[in-house]
Symmetry: C2
Subunit: 258 residues, 2 copies
């Protein structure tokens, strides 16, 4: 049998939904984009189960193999998680750990300790050209600027400048610090419906700025690690840019390369 594309629903009660993206793109790619968008928008929330593969195929009027390939790609991206016999679920990535694992702050059992967080300031500013480029905004667009200290054993160990598009994150401005809690990404999800699924980081080692050395209680000639991070949602749209600085001696990093 040769059917390039099934005929449209023909009046069935549960007809096919429209797929995102250019009609010239492969079906599985368009379905992939569509599901990623539903995760970005919160229609599919972390922990929730997708419809079964055959059900997805039926909903979007594609062959089972095509639906399977779209889901496969999203699993490879880390957005979905398959559990044999149980279903396919939306993953909740944990990037707070991916930052903290760079540094040597562990308890007696070698477990990573979550640091205390102290928000030093919250401002609304106009984005510089460079920042706007990172966040896919226009220069002068409003951004929220958080400055935050992170402390282990009561000692300041990391200083962070965090920039967020005002349009998406304005609820964060008025939240009491104890409601935000020690980790920002769960707060983004709970109060702004923004999910971080991908990050890019750049790591550099430099002499400490005088201001940073003072904030981190380091000798003025000491060295710091600077980590620049761009965080993206499930549709790969940038939603946060931050620059973190910490003592260089505390730094440790492991990576697999292919």
């Amino acid at each position: 049998m040769v059917v390039k594309r099934r005929e449209q629903s023909a009046g069935t009660a549960t007809g096919p939904e429209d797929l995102d993206g250019d009609v010239h793109l492969p079906l599985y790619r368009r379905l992939q984009t569509t599901i990623a968008r539903k995760i970005s928008s919160g229609e599919y929330k972390p922990g929730f189960a997708l419809p079964a593969e055959l059900e997805v195929a039926r909903i979007y009027d594609v062959a089972p193999g095509t639906a399977r390939k779209a889901i496969e790609e999203l699993v490879n991206e880390g957005l979905l998680e398959r559990r044999h016999g149980a279903g396919t679920f939306v993953r909740r990535p944990d990037f707070n750990n991916s930052m903290l694992r760079f540094f040597h702050f562990r308890d007696a059992h070698g477990h990573q300790l979550t640091p205390e967080s102290r928000i030093v300031s919250r401002h609304v500013e106009k984005a510089s050209g460079a920042l706007a480029a990172h966040l896919a905004l226009s220069a002068g667009d409003k951004v929220i600027h958080l400055r935050r200290l992170r402390l282990w054993d009561g000692k300041p160990r990391l200083i962070e400048d965090i920039y967020l598009p005002f349009a998406l994150f304005h609820p964060i401005l008025d939240l009491p610090e104890d409601v935000i809690g020690p980790l920002l990404y769960p707060a983004y999800e709970a109060h702004c419906s923004q999910l971080v699924s991908f990050v890019k980081e750049e790591i550099t080692i430099t002499d400490a700025e005088a201001e940073d050395a003072a904030a981190l209680d380091l000798p003025s000639n000491d060295m710091v690690v600077t980590i620049d991070r761009l965080a993206m949602n499930p549709s790969h749209a940038p939603i946060e840019w931050r620059r973190s600085r910490g003592e260089a001696r505390r730094f440790h990093y492991a990576v697999d390369i292919t």
Copy 2:
């Protein structure tokens, strides 16, 4: 039609080849392992084309979709490269660049410069317990220990201790340095038939050892980046362990995390 497994060749001239691995593993996984082994052993060399997908399916007596999935996995691992309309080829990874890109040694156009290489010493030693564990050897097994300096603009910038299993790499002991050249991995491939396809790295920042500071021409109280690397062949067997040290200020690293 329901056929769990095709009947064996039945006297055809080009019967199915045997697949590696436990018979309880999926066919595509066993085919994947088989192809990876052929790359490790040099039967499929970098740059060479695999048989066409349908031909692979015929050779190993599996369905086209199964052969395709095995190849797909190897493409995802970075061992193979597809070129639409042309064929599927064995990739040659370039890990020398993955090390060098950490450091800021670039020309006026921003291109990475390949450093001069100077092998300081070559010895045969007995592996310590820790080293043996890294290389999947037994403590006391013979290893080759190379110490190497890498220089940019005539200045020593990296010092490296490199350990290799003697059994696989003994030809490297007798090669003149100008035959080895500035990069080791091509020499491994050319003279020892060993291909590096995967690496794991750990990065730490510490105060310089006196000996390293002297070799790198740094102040005795300066800081260095230490990069520990384990290199593996296409079958994921470890074949090299090295520790490299360089000036911390020169360090820069970029990474995507999912």
